[in-house]
């Protein structure tokens, strides 16, 4: 919150505030910076007069006619909206949300392309059993890229480059997540935290989300299936990607997800309202999650 100007006791119409910050003749230009700050402060304190009438602005001599009124209103509205946008949006948070979406899209694209390339080679290769053992995706792409006579060698090179971008973006996502979501990152890792943030839409939404919603975030289809038909509810959504959940024994998976989600809900609130890492909390929450994963 920047500088909040003094609020006069009586109520004003918005155009009266505009008029009070006007240069004298001959320029008559508006001091927009002051106007925007004052109008926003008045609006937040509900000290502006409601439902303005353009005729009054004309008779007060502030604008010439209806068109003048509307264009002044529009100028003001745009400036106020831009100022609100600046204040309400955390650039790091938005960057993180979009970067993690791009990251998941790259992964998706690489695996789809690779699948098609694999189909191509298995359709053409000899039907006799291979002497070569299974090779990883990366090794096969590398060897294809080196084989310049192969029709897919250029594509393989592109995929290699995409993979390099992926590594770079993942690194940035980790850094940003550890900066904007320090407590959540400490509990379930920066990438999973970033995905939760991207799905929730903003830190605000994440902080106000109940733990039970956090637990099944990203499991929408099965959740709605559960609500509609009464099938078993999903145990986990995005948090399944956290190794503590997907490596947990089948019998305790639900419990681990539940405990992790409840601790993440607290972490999300610390991240949103305080914004710094709380070591005591992280240690305690980590212990609780660990304990939930043990067979009793």
């Amino acid at each position: 919150m920047g500088h909040v100007p003094q609020i006069p006791p009586e109520k004003w119409f918005w155009y009266e505030i505009c008029d009070s910050h006007r240069e004298p003749a001959p320029s008559f230009s508006f001091n927009w910076e002051m106007i925007v700050e004052q109008i926003r402060a008045h609006r937040d304190h509900l000290t502006l007069c409601a439902l303005p009438k353009w005729e009054e602005a004309v008779s007060a001599g502030i604008v010439l006619d209806r068109n003048g009124y509307l264009s002044l209103m529009k100028d003001l509205a745009i400036r106020v909206a831009i100022r609100d946008l600046e204040e309400r949006c955390d650039a790091d948070e938005i960057a993180l949300i979009h970067l993690v979406r791009i990251l998941d899209e790259i992964d998706h694209s690489i695996s789809r392309l690779y699948e098609k390339m694999d189909e191509y080679s298995s359709a053409l290769s000899s039907p006799l059993p291979h002497e070569e053992p299974d090779r990883t995706v990366k090794v096969r792409i590398d060897s294809l890229a080196h084989d310049t006579t192969h029709p897919l060698s250029h594509l393989a090179k592109s995929i290699q480059r995409m993979h390099e971008s992926r590594v770079a973006i993942a690194k940035t996502v980790r850094e940003y997540a550890q900066k904007t979501l320090p407590n959540m990152s400490a509990l379930c890792g920066p990438l999973v935290s970033a995905r939760l943030l991207a799905r929730a839409g903003s830190k605000h939404h994440l902080a106000y989300m109940p733990a039970a919603s956090l637990q099944v975030l990203g499991a929408g289809p099965s959740l709605f299936m559960h609500m509609r038909t009464g099938s078993d509810p999903p145990k986990h959504g995005i948090i399944y990607q956290y190794k503590g959940v997907h490596h947990a024994k089948r019998r305790v998976k639900g419990r681990v997800s539940r405990v992790l989600a409840s601790q993440l809900a607290i972490a999300a609130r610390i991240d949103y309202f305080r914004g710094s890492r709380d070591d005591d909390f992280v240690i305690k929450a980590g212990e609780k999650i660990c304990r939930a994963g043990k067979e009793r």
Binding site: K11, W14, R43, L48, C49, A50, L51, K53, L70, A77
Partner: protein
Amino acid sequence: MRVWDPEKSKFAALCVLEREPPVLRTRILYLGAAAGTTVSFLADYAEVVYAVEFAPRPVRSLIRLAYERNNVIPLFEDARYPERYLPFVERVDILIQDIAQRDQVEIVLRNLVFLKNGGHLILFLKLLSMGSERKEEDMIADAIAALENAGVTRVQMIDLNVYHTGHVALWGVYAEEKETENSPKQIRTAVARSRALHD
């Protein structure tokens, strides 16, 4: 030349399936303007469109649109709290709401203060957003009852399913503000609030 596609715009679907609301040279308050696609078409006909949107990303496009048009006024506000933008909006001839939220009916009730006597109310209901547990017919009936209780008369229901799955439009005319005992509480508070602010 642009095509106002009923597949993309619920307002266009309403024009195709029912009839065109009288938008020519009117003042419109549009709640849930999003990136301003429908607003840009309405602005071709209307005198002025006050466009309310609360999501940061579409607001950027909305501001860009307002730069290009001289009759689009962007308001980056939550339509749940009309008292925040009451000081900037005049009484309007048409109130359009296209907000897919659970409390979308209550939001429109709160915003009825902006509507002139005899003004048109067009409410696009996304039934799926109102909870999947209840029957659709019940939700529509409740919404119509709430509107009629708040002084909206001749409410008619237009099914937009052909173009927009799970959407209906409710179209009514706002009559005299009735301070009857059974009018919903939020209306009375909104009206009282606006009067208090006007003093």
